[in-house]
């Protein structure tokens, strides 16, 4: 993929960076594990537009498929260790 630039201007940079900050802050300050996983989802939602804007569409597709799989693996590991204990 060559380096192309999408239609990002200052307002959109602030909006999606605001999503990143909100997601990070919520992940740090929440205590319940399920709420932490949901806040990680906000974080990923703020990162993907930046990746797409630079033209890296294959990276965006890969991140968009791997990040939810990571969440599902975390849930499977946590449930298994709880049930196995």
């Amino acid at each position: 993929m060559q380096e192309v630039c999408g239609r990002m201007n200052e307002f959109l940079v602030f909006a999606f960076a605001g999503l990143l900050v909100l997601g990070t802050g919520a992940t740090i300050f929440e205590t319940d594990p399920f709420k932490k996983l949901i806040s990680l989802s906000i974080l990923i939602g703020g990162v993907i537009p930046f990746i797409v804007d630079q033209g890296l569409l294959d990276v965006a597709t890969a991140v968009a498929l791997i990040a939810p799989l990571t969440t599902i693996f975390i849930l499977m590991v946590t449930r298994r260790s709880e049930r196995g204990t």
């Binding site: 192309v4 239609r7 949901i38 537009p49 797409v52 968009a64 990040a67 969440t71 049930r83």
Partner: protein, 90 residues
């Protein structure tokens, strides 16, 4: 007074970004975990729409669809694991 031309793509992008930020704030402000999930769904719609509007290339449809299906799967996993667990995985 100068006049800047604004086309529908830009207005739709601003709308999607604003709705994404609004629904992210609603997610954080909600106390019940299962009721957070519809707000996350709204945020996924907004981000998938902005992906398609930022860079109009045929492979962007694939990226937007992958992102949307990914967050749908994730919400489904969180919802079904939250209260009871998924029985058929064991």
């Amino acid at each position: 007074m100068e006049v800047a031309v604004i086309n529908p793509q830009e207005i739709a992008l601003y709308a999607c970004a604003a709705i994404a930020v609004y629904s992210a704030i609603r997610v954080i402000a909600e106390k019940n975990t299962l009721k957070k999930l519809p707000f996350i769904n709204v945020m996924s719609f907004a981000v998938a729409g902005s992906i398609a509007l930022l860079l109009p290339h045929p492979l962007t449809i694939l990226a937007a669809a992958a992102y949307f299906i990914g967050t749908t799967l994730e919400s489904n996993a969180i919802a079904s694991t939250y209260a009871g667990g998924v029985r058929e995985d064991e």
